[in-house]
Symmetry: C2
Subunit: 310 residues, 2 copies
Amino acid sequence: MNAAEIVKGVFSADARAIARAISKVENAEAESSEIMRAVFERSGNAMVIGITGSPGAGKSSLVDKLAMLYKEKGEKIGIIAVDPSSPFSGGAILGDRIRMSALGTDKNIFIRSMATRGNLGGLARATVDAVNILDAAGFQKVIVETVGVGQDEVEIVKAADVVVVVLVPGMGDDVQAIKAGIMEIGDLFVINKADRDGVLKTERELKMLLELTSRQDGWNPPIIKTIAVESKGIDELAEAISKYYEFQKKNENLQRRSAVAKWRLLELLREKLLQELLNKNGAKEKLDQLALEVAQKRIDPYSAVEKILR
Amino acid sequence: MNAAEIVKGVFSADARAIARAISKVENAEAESSEIMRAVFERSGNAMVIGITGSPGAGKSSLVDKLAMLYKEKGEKIGIIAVDPSSPFSGGAILGDRIRMSALGTDKNIFIRSMATRGNLGGLARATVDAVNILDAAGFQKVIVETVGVGQDEVEIVKAADVVVVVLVPGMGDDVQAIKAGIMEIGDLFVINKADRDGVLKTERELKMLLELTSRQDGWNPPIIKTIAVESKGIDELAEAISKYYEFQKKNENLQRRSAVAKWRLLELLREKLLQELLNKNGAKEKLDQLALEVAQKRIDPYSAVEKILR
């Protein structure tokens, strides 16, 4: 499939073409610019839901149940699971298959894991591109699930229309661990595994923290209690999501969208600049050679970088 | 203080100079190259311990107790807490003060939080630079604690001599959430809060996962159970750390150190290239203008980036 064929396939929601398009942007292949240019025009219709929280918070179950609910309403759902800790997508792909079979392999749900590309970076950029691809393919909901709460992941979920932060009780004494940065990005909060001890304590602490964080847009993030594995609280979650979605649409904020666009441009720039440099004759060999010299302490990293740049 | 004065201060372990040096590299100021060049030569003596795990795993308590133990042995300890989710260091600095007063404000413990610099990136690079600074200042132990398990954080802890992954029971049913990537980087594993239900289950699952992951160097990562807030298991942890440290020194691996150096060079390159581009006349304004156009869907991000680069 060439770029034009991939784009055509994406627009007709062909799963193979979508997967191909995502692989192209994930690997930053030459065709990705052409694909993304075409895709961008058609995107902007999906509701993009970002779901984040610690490992073990039960995000996957929550996402799966939410996807089932949307599917039952006749919608098409794209799920992108970002796993930056996984250096290869092998494990992730196995996970996809397991989830696929649980969710049913019909055409209405598309699941894709995105793993790190190693030293080359670009995971965040590729994830946002993948969201645009699913959006352009006509999926009404795109759910981006991030494992981990690193810098990239925060940026990824910030690019969503609705940001859901998932907590679990029993980490109650460490709600502080969910630092200001995470508190600020949550449009709604879920306490999952709400049949566990310590739910009230976690809720109380979360409320206190939320009172300390005032939002410029005047929205008060609700707290929803769920038991995802028993499908409890999923309706309430979906309702809260659509409520906030309506709210933010009415208060549409060009400044916020500009900030997301700027982040995206910077990510892309960083990647392109490095790519251009490394594509130069002998640059990769020089980098390897200098890395070896740094490891042997024969040169410091700052001087080494000067050598590569000059 | 100019760069030479800062370097002199660092070499005589002056806390103010160290803090200044770290701020310079954190903000990628002009003097940082000069400082890091001088620092690099003197570094390489400290034992660098990377500690990672989910929020709520009790990493801070564990780090504090470990630092106390080293301090009682007459050593100097540097602690760097990386919090990529925090957009400003305000909260982090408050946290530092609380920890400082708990650990005692003597000269033998230096604590510093590193927060994200926003869109500009460079947190991982700045953290590794800060480790070198503390190393050059003569701290015998430098502990790097990362909140979150994102891509950057994995790279940061991989740059350490000894990597400790902290888990808690009760996330037992989700040990799988600690994916292959994290399992591979752990030289030892801690199950903290080991007085909680589910310790045995977590331990069993962890052992199973470890059996599936075979290491090239033949090391079998031990599992240590701790209750950090009660100072239980800290001796055992310190012993396991020093055991692995000796092991890896004997099996010193130039390939591994080259890989870390290469990652560090790439981080630095990415940052410098972007900086150079944005320092060009009018580049920042052009970026803001194009970000606005992307937000308004008047141009796609890929075409916008082409415009900035040409």
